[in-house]
Amino acid sequence: MSSGLARLRVPESAQPGEIVEVRLLIQHDMETGFRRDMQGRAVPMNVITEVRARYGDQDVFRAELGSGISANPYLAFSIRAVKTGEIRVEWIDTAGVRGSVSAVLNVT
């Protein structure tokens, strides 16, 4: 359900057709590039630029983010439960580091 870097929350189960909320929290500094460290050196910008969510084999949500999103980005969106399947979220940051987290939505 969660890796050390992110948490994905979906309801334990849902009925077909039900609208469920998917909540995502990623641990990331979302460094703006406007800050200096203790030695006075500019801290380079590094933000999560793109987040994609898939449910089964369908793209359900996509977000393009920037320095205007808070550190440790939180995103909540809704999907319609169709059948039991994996919800998988993947992201990439400015430094090219990728991450992912997934959860299973049980539809009964």
């Binding site: 449910y55 359900v60 920037g66 205007g68």
Partner: protein, 153 residues
Amino acid sequence: MKRRSLLKAGAILLGTANIRHVHAQNFLPPQDLKPFIEALTRGAPVRAGRVTMEMPAIAENGNSIPFLLRVASPMTPADHVKSVHIFAPRNPRPQVAAFQFGPHAPRAEVATRVRLAGSQKVLAIAAMSDGSFWSGELNIVVTAAACLDEALG
């Protein structure tokens, strides 16, 4: 050009650079969003409505402000929201985020947390599947802006 006059010109330039740096400690003035809107709509008209945002009216700290975005749409294959774009004119980078919803999206709604560099009017524009554009605005007072020491650097 003589060496002396060159040095003089350089000193003047340096002087202005310093003034700019001092200004950078203050809030940025709002930027013109027209180029961003133009890039999105390619000249198509943007009508007010269908897009609503929710944020606290006053935020003590601009670093993490709860933000809810909602677009009124039936979200059917024939009539849905293609994307929504959020702009904060006083942020050093006004493009805050853009969201796209897939075919399983029952409603065009997303919640997140934003950074805002000062009090401003946040703009959201939704691109609909029929090619129309709709917008919503929301004023927020931010008493301590998100950190932007180097924003004008």
